[in-house]
Amino acid sequence: MFYIIGGVAVLSALIMVTNKKPVSAAMSLIVVMFCLAGIYVILDAHLIAALQIIVYAGAIMVLFLFVIMLLNIQEKEGRVAKHKIFFQFTWILATGYVFINMVKLIGAGDLPARMEGNIDGFGTTRVVAEILFTDFLLPFEIASILLLAAIVGAVILAKAKIE
């Protein structure tokens, strides 16, 4: 099951990166988000899977689609100058090198052994909330302030004219 979902996720990600139209790219990204939510379910992270669908596939992608709709972009990306193609190729090679190193690091065998035993109710809302509101209360409050600042910033930036 993991391999099917993972394959779909990688394929959709490739479609997203190579697609010319922003709307199709957004749709492929939604597919990737859903695949990742499925993988989170496999990993027993039920709350995070639900949040992934609600926050990413729901809120953030709708925001993206609204902006694409609002801007009504005429895609002019087809004509890329010759020297830019060279730069792009260089970047792809550099990223490929980093990727090979990441895989080497993963395959090196220094990964920690799987812990035995099981937390009661691993990944459920109750257990996540218990940790979030005891050990991680300060980061939680800081996150809420960050969201408030983001709301104010977004409104001010998107406003037509500031008097």
Partner: protein
């Protein structure tokens, strides 16, 4: 049970695809989507380690990354809108006011 390696490799693949997108695409919106993809790849790593180390802290980190991603998407898209209003383009090569 799928071993931890495979989750990490999937995460690395998604992260690299996102990085390639950021470096090669010139549409600001698609660059943002690629950044979201990279954040998601990191989330997958957190959740996989959380499961395999039997420790719930990774879930909290993922929660925080999602919060930051939502804030970043809101502010970033607002910046793109105001940029489009000024220059009528979202191509990052044509937005070179700060280049001097």
């Amino acid at each position: 049970m799928v071993p931890l390696n495979h989750y990490l490799i999937l995460s690395a693949v998604l992260f690299s695809i996102g990085a390639v997108g950021v470096f090669t695409r010139r549409n600001a919106l698609i660059i943002y989507m690629c950044i979201e993809l990279m954040l998601n790849a990191v989330n997958l790593t957190f959740i996989a380690f959380s499961k395999f180390l039997n420790n719930m802290d990774g879930h909290i980190f993922t929660f925080m990354v999602m919060t930051v991603a939502a804030a970043e998407a809101a502010v970033g898209l607002a910046i793109i809108i105001s940029m489009f209003r000024n220059k009528e383009t979202v191509n990052v090569d044509e937005i070179n006011l700060m280049k001097g």
